[in-house]
Symmetry: D2
Subunit: 377 residues, 4 copies
Amino acid sequence: MAKLNWGMIGGGEGSQIGPAHRLGAQADGNFVLAAGALDVDAEKGRAYAQSLGVAADRAYAGWQEMLDGEKDRTDRVDLVTVATPNSTHFEITRAFLEAGFNVLCEKPMTMTVEEGEEIVRVAEASGKICAVNYCYSAYPMVREMRQMVKTGQIGKVRLVVANFSHGHHGDAGDADNPRVRWRYDPAMAGVSGQFADCGIHALHMAGFIAGDEVRSLSADFASTIPSRMLEDDAMVNFRMEGGTVGRLWTSSVAIGRQHGFDIQVFGETGGMRWASEQPNQVFYTPVGGRTQIMEKGEGGLSDEATRLSRVAIAHPEGFPLAVANIYVDLAAAIRGETRDALPFAVDGLRSMAAVYAAVDSAKADGAWVDARPPILR
Amino acid sequence: MAKLNWGMIGGGEGSQIGPAHRLGAQADGNFVLAAGALDVDAEKGRAYAQSLGVAADRAYAGWQEMLDGEKDRTDRVDLVTVATPNSTHFEITRAFLEAGFNVLCEKPMTMTVEEGEEIVRVAEASGKICAVNYCYSAYPMVREMRQMVKTGQIGKVRLVVANFSHGHHGDAGDADNPRVRWRYDPAMAGVSGQFADCGIHALHMAGFIAGDEVRSLSADFASTIPSRMLEDDAMVNFRMEGGTVGRLWTSSVAIGRQHGFDIQVFGETGGMRWASEQPNQVFYTPVGGRTQIMEKGEGGLSDEATRLSRVAIAHPEGFPLAVANIYVDLAAAIRGETRDALPFAVDGLRSMAAVYAAVDSAKADGAWVDARPPILR
Amino acid sequence: MAKLNWGMIGGGEGSQIGPAHRLGAQADGNFVLAAGALDVDAEKGRAYAQSLGVAADRAYAGWQEMLDGEKDRTDRVDLVTVATPNSTHFEITRAFLEAGFNVLCEKPMTMTVEEGEEIVRVAEASGKICAVNYCYSAYPMVREMRQMVKTGQIGKVRLVVANFSHGHHGDAGDADNPRVRWRYDPAMAGVSGQFADCGIHALHMAGFIAGDEVRSLSADFASTIPSRMLEDDAMVNFRMEGGTVGRLWTSSVAIGRQHGFDIQVFGETGGMRWASEQPNQVFYTPVGGRTQIMEKGEGGLSDEATRLSRVAIAHPEGFPLAVANIYVDLAAAIRGETRDALPFAVDGLRSMAAVYAAVDSAKADGAWVDARPPILR
Amino acid sequence: MAKLNWGMIGGGEGSQIGPAHRLGAQADGNFVLAAGALDVDAEKGRAYAQSLGVAADRAYAGWQEMLDGEKDRTDRVDLVTVATPNSTHFEITRAFLEAGFNVLCEKPMTMTVEEGEEIVRVAEASGKICAVNYCYSAYPMVREMRQMVKTGQIGKVRLVVANFSHGHHGDAGDADNPRVRWRYDPAMAGVSGQFADCGIHALHMAGFIAGDEVRSLSADFASTIPSRMLEDDAMVNFRMEGGTVGRLWTSSVAIGRQHGFDIQVFGETGGMRWASEQPNQVFYTPVGGRTQIMEKGEGGLSDEATRLSRVAIAHPEGFPLAVANIYVDLAAAIRGETRDALPFAVDGLRSMAAVYAAVDSAKADGAWVDARPPILR
């Protein structure tokens, strides 16, 4: 199969997420990096792109130049990844969609609900793919959990308990560190800190596995380091459309938790739990029975799990390959196959609506509020 | 040292908690079972007490008879354990305290806040010990955590996250099982189901370790099995007097969790976590450092932890010996030593106030309410 | 049921194993400490016994005095526990058996194979119980594993892999510490260090679970701290009578392992593993299937496991209650019931034969040698 | 940096190891697949290579054709990976080395010690890189352990305990399955089954971390499924040049173990353990201190660990990226940097010598034999 052409905006030298995308796009041989506007510093970006093998005329100074340069090429990029600072996602994603490109946007897709709604509309109008990088949902065993719910293996889902807590912002002495500070500064981070940063991964996964969507929520936010203007710890209770109860805790001051993203899903006839630090296993318990350890790569798993696993049972696959799985599905979708487990623009919109709802609820002392975007009510 | 005389009310043949108390009281040779009114069926209770070595004239038909029989003896029991159905705790505990006995009462100490306040008053007036069996607080490593907070090893406590969730009531088909049903029936269980049953253990421990008390809370209750009149799943957010943020999740429908009582305590300079299924370890992380595995019995622990451990490091000690530790401390307190880590009547009262506060909050859609008993505001 | 009278030799104030025996004998109300010769210092021993409730005339100055004092009493002790220094076990155990007492002897039962054979003969002639405190075999889930093998749930046992390794003697600077040194000094410890101290627990358990006995073995001993005259690390390969292959590693210099006693049993149709630091679970895997987590106290376990568990599922029970389980079974056996899972004198003898065989093999560069006691070949 | 040209022999459609190599070589953008002879079926191989982007004239029918086609090109491949059936590794590797290519050979590098010695000589003469794919040694935390030993953090290494055991060949009914059977058939697998297949990974890692080499060994082999001509379970005791004691257990009938490759390293002042199923952590214990959990990506690790980690702390990286790390180091070495932690031909040779030594020892009832290749004695 011919490789697809891939373009990247942001993710330049020294960025955290850039390497994960490059590895993700190239690991399975689906994409070749054909164009890029990798850095806000135009020259640095052009040089870096070329060092990665991009031809000089496709190593762009900025995203607008890239849009102009690519849109009329016959070998234009098949997919654009947007990995720029959060506040620019909306504008870039919209522009590329409008020009008929497929886009993978880093989260958060937008800074407001209105922007999110616009992306959804633009994506629909364009007929192109607009995906959002909720990459944890592409772990094979997370896909397996979703299939287990879908096929009724745990019955109706009663309860979802999700956590995404770490302690890497727990040092008050670090509060002025620019890598940390911006996340709690409304001028840069928007209306929410930790919930918008990490919590929405967990919220997306809750809906993803349960096969349902959040309808209403009640939030309790805290800035446990008092100098912070935005929350560094949040608890969000929610209800899904089908009545499922949800509990979501997210924190950045949970010293000792490293990457504490885990989820428990409890249904009428069984329960499951998964943790991102050991992503290749699911602990599944049928009601009245023993807990069983399910392994990535074991026989009998769903096709969704099996086709996203590259090596044999108990050979761990980690975070970069979860990102790669997003690209595997994007490549398939671009080539015309159906990949409905991909996180799309509507998921990015729902997240943004949930963030604003949580902020409103927290300000209103935990009052229950509608968590749905207006156009989806 | 002469053994202390011990009397037991309830906990007869076939009861779950009876054996734990008998083992707890006798394991370390502090108490000898000298009197008992073990069963609501007087004859059965008298026979069973005698089979356990109680003299015929101290094998009583009921608690009133025991009170009458013991109160004027010179060798009267030094401690009475009340392990009867919940609704009778108040009356029995009050009566024995008023007659000058030391009492260990099973939780919940009372069914209402007012009763709780009365027990506190009566206990104070009597000058006797009134303890409540929050036995998890007597695990050596839980005591260690309390000492670590007290001595500043994790700095000011910012956040406590406690869970007490299991899945043993997760089978809807079991809803009519009398061993399960009563817990969700207000006629028998009172105003709260799972929170009053398990959650208050976690709430007590949060305060116990943090060295602080809950001031206000906001609750979300759910009956995920719809036939239930009381909650089988609850989330309670709280704030302590000193500002510590609290999160407490408790559930009885978390299929796959067996005895999921665990707690995480996060301070300015470190974090700790403990889980009741592996009670002999604490995972401690200094801010910016590596997680360390602390072991019961290791060198350098506090006296509170060391004196409650019987066997060498990594030889596990379990639940029955946590109960036994309550008796170890009670024996010491009866003999005149100070044992301020024991859970006393005031702790039983605070729990009851928190239960009512949570019920009120849940009914008011999560409104924040005062969680303190009126006499302690 | 009337309590049984219990006598103890050794285990005085400050001993490690004494408290475990006292708790074990008394926890379930089967035994009352009626007589004792607790200390090599006669006065200290008598005083301590009385402080534990022993009558003055049964607080003996030494084991011979106790034998004389007890043997003609009508209320003589029903069971004598021998918890003295290793080199005295043989003489005391033999004397009490010959006088018609039931005996529980600490391990090692004797210092030589010949002594072991004599104990077996004397015990048989006496018609009394002579048990050896291989207490790990009395954990409920270890009993369950034995039953699973017996009932064919994992098919014929192909392979047993057992480890008993810790790191508490890993500090060379500690080599002169008297609490450590004696274990590696032939004058006090006999022919073997770590294998005789810890390894034989693992070897006993291998036979106990597999329902088979070691026939031959090959050993590799090392003194990784060169000043030691006896081994601090040993590997023993063995074959059982039925052909099962065995691997046993034991070490006292495995820094970081605390109480690393674990066992894996692999049969034709399944595998199981258990670890003493988490003794309430067994991980069981049917061939071709998923690993299942079995819990002490779950429904459907064997009677052997169920009757030795005191509290509900996932309420951990630990080491002292495993010792207590030995006493539970001893009480039953004394009262006339069959308790064939108890470790008896023959097991103590087999251990001693294995120790000598391992020493011989290690000296002969790992040559395979017969591991059976002569009288059992 | 310009990409390096990479060629692959074997690893065609449906192979297990092929995808891991392709991902490994391409994940970090160092190599581009420029040539290949991927399949024993020439047409299938050529078609598959072209589907992966190889130009038609470099999609070869076989390795000899590839050698002929590449050797005179100015853009000849910079590295050849040999992932063909075991018995062909020697011939192909030798031929490419002799023609001046760098080679990465799958393990086992050869089938005999003599062949291994020849590869070492040829590689030396060629001045080219000949690496062997002991990919586990390229996990960041394994590299960290090696550095810890090298810098004296655990003192002199006393003891290494390594296991590589799984249960995937535990079903006797599967013994005729061709995917399983060949491994126990001397005609195809050579002199050893499980030890040659998995054990040598563990043996290599023992030397790799300890910074030492095996000098002598004693082995016990068993065919627990009797129809097998080669061992499916083996225990190997060894001594390193510096006196370190080694224990290595490997099994393919350990039902319930999935990919049980783990290692424990014990020195004078500390111990460490690592397990391949959780490869991003090391448990490190300083003598007399608490166990610390080290995490891939934490601050303060060695450069060896840091430069092989792609994503932040506690974002797991798995097996395919360990293979990728081999390619990262190969790319650096080809570009002229020093990468002495790569496994080279001499390591492949040592493994083969150890396999033959173990076979000899097992046949001689565990006699200790020299494990070194003749040219390295």
